[in-house]
Amino acid sequence: MFDFGILFPAVLNGLTTGAVYALVALGLTLIYGVLHIINFAHGAALMMALYGVWFLRQFLGLDPYLALPPMVAVMFAAGYALQRGIVNRASHGKDENILLVTLGLSIVLENLALLVFKSDTRTIDTPYTLATVAIGPAMIAVPKLVAFAGALVASALLLWIVRGTDLGRAIRAVAKEKQGARLVGIDVDHVYAMSFGIGLACLGAAACFLLPAYYVNPQVGNGFVLVAFTIVVLGGMGSFAGALVGGLLIGVVESLGGLWFGESLGQIGIFLLFIAVLLLRPQGLFGARA
């Protein structure tokens, strides 16, 4: 139906989009998969991060890629403070409370953005916004390639943190057995907050990679958060490799679906895949059997 010259760019394009999905999902999988916090505010947090990058560019002239260190740091701090100051306090140790608190947070953040920034859609212009690189017959936008590479590096980094550091061991311990972790002297509240912080830090990075080729408005997070939840379940809860592979897979499926079924129905492929995984491999692609 389509020749190689069309299919190949569509796949590459899906991979680059998927990499950003993966980065958003990585943050979610840490919070949702490991700590079992259903963070409905994830999309709103991404939106705030995007506004942060936009603000730095617009008013300080900071290149979005150079904004990476401050954005990651600020988002980490915000996540840490949010968990310790609001989510943890308001939850009283009940999961269903957390759900409502994060949902409420997302509503507050979205409307705050609406108040401050208006619902105008904003973009930034950089010298490389429209630059492309030819890979075979495909023209791939430079910001998308950077996002792809950035997402891979970020997931490797996260994997290292969780597998190779004391903090990572503590996170895994808390995820497995909260009470036991507390008994061996792990500060559970601190670990929760660190995980939340790292989760939002991923969004800070995602925002820096996303904005050069994308836009921001108060509703921008919604489109990502549903896909991110799907990826987390698809890849296996709490699995970082799963989030990465799941993200890339979803990106490609969405891209090819859009090519065949038209843009409006493009996402149908994602959810068909999702249902198939739930039926045939409910623990997710990389998830351990419960």
């Binding site: 389509f2 760019p9 569509a10 429209l130 509703q219």
Partner: protein
């Protein structure tokens, strides 16, 4: 949600009304303001356009009130009742109910076709005059609603003018363009426009290779542009709102897809100063058949300066709603009353001429201003110039574009 009418409220309102009726001259020193609903989607997917519309309406009200209000009503000021349709027809309808309860004499709004379709109908229940500021779908004025008036052109007229002019441009250039691809947004406006074009284009000798629909918002146009690459049309016709239009054209530029022309019909960004400023390269050469002001009328540029002084872009939403509000003020002036039936009557017989749109004499037939027409513009040298018709021409068209 509307306030329930309880006993106290009823007594208070009935009392106020009775007092006003019994002693019309007591409050005569300060005439009662005329309440006008200003209803737009100022939040949600269409928020940018909705806010632009609201700005236009408020500027007009400012001008009308500064110039002494409605003189035939003793200098009554216009008091806006702001409403937010939240980019959905349902929310728009709810706002109409609220405005009716709040005693609006008329409504100006509601930008998007799908929303206008709902709000005009809701207002019709109360014979509440409703001036449609933008809403291009022709169904809006084809349902026999006595309260509904549209000053600007509908999409049938825009599509016909666009097609006729495309044919003239193409013929003059030696017919380089033979195939067309249409990309449209999925609501009433985009779908209706696209259907019209797809039906009419073959009659002019063009082959419609593909008609692609997309959602609002769409995050990524790469697939559509890849399809475009496969189809390789001579002309690309987009009919969509600002964000998607901008993203589409930028993606075309990235993928190095350069058709002989990007020829928009009511394109959301094609004749937008915002787009030209933000993406001058992508915007260059784009032709659009859209709402536009008379470029030879100084008042159009005076308003442009005022809008730009507020750090806003002078978009069609601003000047269309601005003019719609002035049309209403003119009708109020001649109705000499805030009675809804009298306003409807004044609009039906309106000969409103104090405006800067290229419309000719105002004459409403079934609620549609028959003189209304779009202009053809092209982005040339980082500015938007009128290319057709000749009476308003500022620059010669460039067609086809150099690859």
């Amino acid at each position: 949600m509307s306030t329930p009418l309880n006993r106290r409220r009823f007594v208070a309102q009935a009392g106020a009304t009775a007092t006003a009726l019994a002693f019309p001259l007591v409050g005569g020193a300060q005439p009662k303001p005329v309440r006008v609903g200003v209803l737009h989607p100022v939040t949600g997917a269409l928020a940018y356009s909705g806010q632009q519309c609201r700005e236009g309406a408020l500027l007009a009200i400012e001008d009308i009130n500064k110039a002494g209000g409605i003189r035939s009503l003793g200098g009554a000021k216009i008091e806006p009742l702001l409403g937010d349709a939240q980019s959905t027809p349902a929310a728009g309808t709810a706002e109409v109910e609220k405005m009716n309860e709040a005693g609006a004499s008329a409504i100006v709004g509601a930008y998007a076709s799908a929303i206008c379709l709902a709000t005009t109908q809701a207002a019709a229940k109360y014979n509440l005059p409703h001036i449609v500021d933008v809403g291009v779908a022709d169904q809006i004025v084809e349902r026999g609603l006595k309260n509904t008036f549209r000053f600007s052109p509908g999409y049938t007229r825009c599509a016909q003018i666009a097609l006729a002019n495309l044919h003239v441009l193409n013929t003059a250039a030696g017919k380089p363009a033979k195939t067309v691809m249409i990309i449209h947004e999925e609501s009433l406006f985009g779908t209706g426009t696209a259907n019209l074009l797809a039906r009419e284009l073959p009659g002019y000798g063009y082959e419609v290779k593909e008609v692609v629909k997309h959602a609002n918002p769409t995050r990524d146009f790469n697939n559509i542009v890849l399809r475009m690459k496969a189809v390789n049309p001579d002309i690309v016709i987009p009919a969509n709102y600002y964000n998607e239009y901008a993203l589409l054209v930028r993606t075309m530029q990235q993928q190095k897809v350069t058709p002989k022309a990007i020829y928009s019909v009511l394109g959301g960004a094609a004749s937008s100063y915002k787009f030209v400023k933000e993406f001058p390269q992508a915007a260059n050469g784009i032709i659009d058949c859209n709402h536009w002001f008379n470029p030879k009328d100084k008042r159009a540029f005076d308003l442009k300066k005022r809008v730009e002084a507020k750090n806003l872009f002078y978009s069609y939403e601003v000047f269309l709603t601005y003019t719609a509000m002035r049309l209403l003020a003119d009708a109020l002036e001649r109705a000499k009353s805030t009675d809804r039936a009298a306003i409807v009557n004044a609009l039906e017989t309106s000969t409103f001429s104090d405006h800067f749109l290229p419309y000719g004499p105002t004459k409403f037939v079934n609620g549609q201003n028959t003189g209304a027409q779009p202009l053809m513009t092209q982005v040339l040298g980082n500015d938007i110039k009128v290319i057709v018709p000749r009476d308003y021409r500022q620059a010669d068209p460039i067609f086809p574009l150099k690859a």
